[in-house]
Symmetry: C2
Subunit: 214 residues, 2 copies
């Protein structure tokens, strides 16, 4: 944490940074109890960037805030006409293990979230639907909003059917299978699904088909 | 993405990095289809660090993988004897807005996740319970495992009662209130909760009290 809030050579004044020059620039919301003095991009790769903001905290003390931006995510609960859900098994490098999850991926720059969901389902599972009307947005979730801007769009795809997957080079180890939605929902309630967006996708798909059970 | 996988001055050989020297060092799991050649810490602050790994991807091509480590998280669904749930309202800097969520925070280095949950509930809400037996782990979730190592431990606290909150300087704008668990569960089913761990905490607290409703 910085000991004072004077800018230095590494820190550009926020006032001088506009959104076109730097998509990370984050002017303070009108109701923010934080005050942002400067922004510095500390890391960027094609999938992720990290910005460190020099701030005045809500208690008036100087500090920093590191914000991670991995872009938006789409996650898809795709069901065939027998209410079987598609899951994919992939090796997740950050946690160093294989995991079953709903098909999921990044919304590319300028891409609509529905198109991203359709693209990811086609790439990872090879499943498609005949009509855009088979798709609906079930919810949107911030995944770790104290650290990251990342938001996930959860889509339901009904009447999906299989084509051929077109996986990326990083996804060569991926497998797809189907499981009855009811089984996946029971696994969720038993705490056996350990991926947050997969768990929420299964919950909302169940609710969409069964209606509220409160 | 790098065009080859030769190491350079900025990249330490993974073989030379042990966990004591660098907690980010990540030897490949035996079943990993990725091969890690080197690791380089690209950003660190007291709450977050980011490591870039130089890798051979599952398709045999060279590449990089950026991994974010914000540490583990605890999230608490705390209920009083009338099944009212505590929620806190705080300004979330990364998404630049106020949000209601379950009390939540970081597991400090060396801290047990149950103690972290009890500490965060006391700090943010001022609520305590009389017995450790009032606490149970409802589930653990990876929040964004394609990007981050972060895992959240979801705790249920029963028979909680109010003391005085002891918030940190960054939490001066925080408010707490109570809401009947049933109302929170209905809001979840309507897609009105946009924070992933809060949604999962409400789901599992409902299931813990009501039992499976499948």
């Amino acid at each position: 944490m910085s000991d004072d809030h004077t800018t230095n050579d590494d820190l550009r004044e926020v006032a001088a940074v506009d959104h076109q020059a730097d998509p990370d620039a984050q002017p303070d919301a009108p109701d923010s109890p934080w005050r942002t003095l400067a922004a510095r991009e500390v890391y960027r790769n094609p999938w992720l960037h990290v910005t460190e903001y020099q701030v005045v905290r809500p208690d008036g003390r100087p500090g920093i805030y590191g914000v991670v931006d991995p872009g938006a995510n789409v996650t898809i609960a795709a069901l065939d006409d027998d209410e079987r859900l598609w899951l994919v098994r992939d090796f997740l490098y950050p946690i160093q293990r294989y995991s079953w999850s709903l098909p999921s991926g990044r919304v590319e720059t300028g891409e609509d979230s529905l198109r991203a969901a359709q693209r990811e389902l086609a790439e990872e599972v090879g499943a498609i639907t005949d009509h855009d009307e088979d798709w609906s947005l079930m919810g949107t979730y911030y995944l770790s909003p104290g650290v990251a801007t990342q938001r996930s769009y959860l889509y339901l795809a009904r009447h999906a059917r299989l084509g051929a997957p077109q996986r990326e080079g990083t996804e060569q180890a991926m497998l797809a299978r189907q499981r009855p939605l009811r089984e996946a929902y029971d696994a969720l309630l038993r705490g056996e699904i350990d991926n947050a967006v997969t768990a929420l996708g299964v919950l909302h798909a169940w609710q969409a088909l069964r209606g509220p059970q409160t």
